[in-house]
Symmetry: C2
Subunit: 155 residues, 2 copies
């Protein structure tokens, strides 16, 4: 579970590409310059986005990048998974049962599993179009309230 500059630059680049969509293609060097990011570093990221079908590249003079999908079909969970790898959560080392619950599974796993699920759930509801439209703020939600589940209580 991590978020590095690569993930942020990827979304940033997609935003820039989308915003210049009506004009024409946008070059790596233009994105790099306008955002003050290393263009050789951006190459890696855009190459990855291309390989995974989010953008298309055109080589040669006046070449550059454009979106390969409509902005509403570019989903943030997909983008981040491609760039950062899968949101994954590890629990304990399983050497011992002292932290296992009723399910025989480490009690801590549930926390990280569910947090990973929450992050993925959030990002899977956000498209590039939402970002372009400024439709993000205020969308996060508190988890479902826990019930007091006596049969599972310890102590």
């Amino acid at each position: 579970m991590k978020l590095t500059t690569k993930g942020r630059y990827a979304v940033l680049a997609l935003t820039e590409i989308a915003l210049s969509e009506d004009k024409n293609l946008i070059k790596i060097s233009e994105i790099a310059k306008s955002q003050n990011i290393s263009s050789t570093y951006l190459e890696q990221i855009l190459s990855n986005l291309k390989k995974n079908g989010f953008v298309k590249a055109v080589r040669g003079p006046n070449g550059g990048y454009k979106l390969a999908l409509k902005a509403e079909n570019i989903i943030m969970s997909d983008v981040i998974e491609v760039i950062e790898g899968k949101i994954e959560a590890k629990g304990c080392s399983h050497k011992n049962v002292s932290c296992t619950g009723i399910s025989g599974k480490c009690l801590n796993h549930d926390l990280w599993d569910e947090l990973g699920k929450q992050i993925d759930l959030f990002l899977s509801h956000i498209s590039l179009k939402d970002i372009l439209e400024g439709n993000i703020l205020g969308r996060s939600r508190a988890p479902i309230i826990a019930e007091n589940c006596d049969k599972m209580t310890i102590n």
Copy 2:
């Protein structure tokens, strides 16, 4: 926004301490052994948890750790913030306005801000007691549905 072994070990240690609460104090070496974690590494983590009031330490023979608070008052967002530092999200480099929206703020900031808020919101509703009771799974929720906000649409 990161989650390292330190955060996971911290929750793991808290779980072990809570589970042995009725018996007596639990030693670092016991936790380290049962979870197969380096005990000297655990020291750093427990020292931090102590400094921040989550656990109490007793030195000397038959010493060890116990919870300083009730399990229901040990909130995961607090624990993780202490151990991993604040969930923070950065957007773009602000050198240019090409990615700024109506608010004059980088469009991407919203995404990372709101994701950070979502993670914090989730963790702030989970206590150590919830973990002990296995009351975690199924609690994550999809974000609020975006409205089509025409006045903000680009393109």
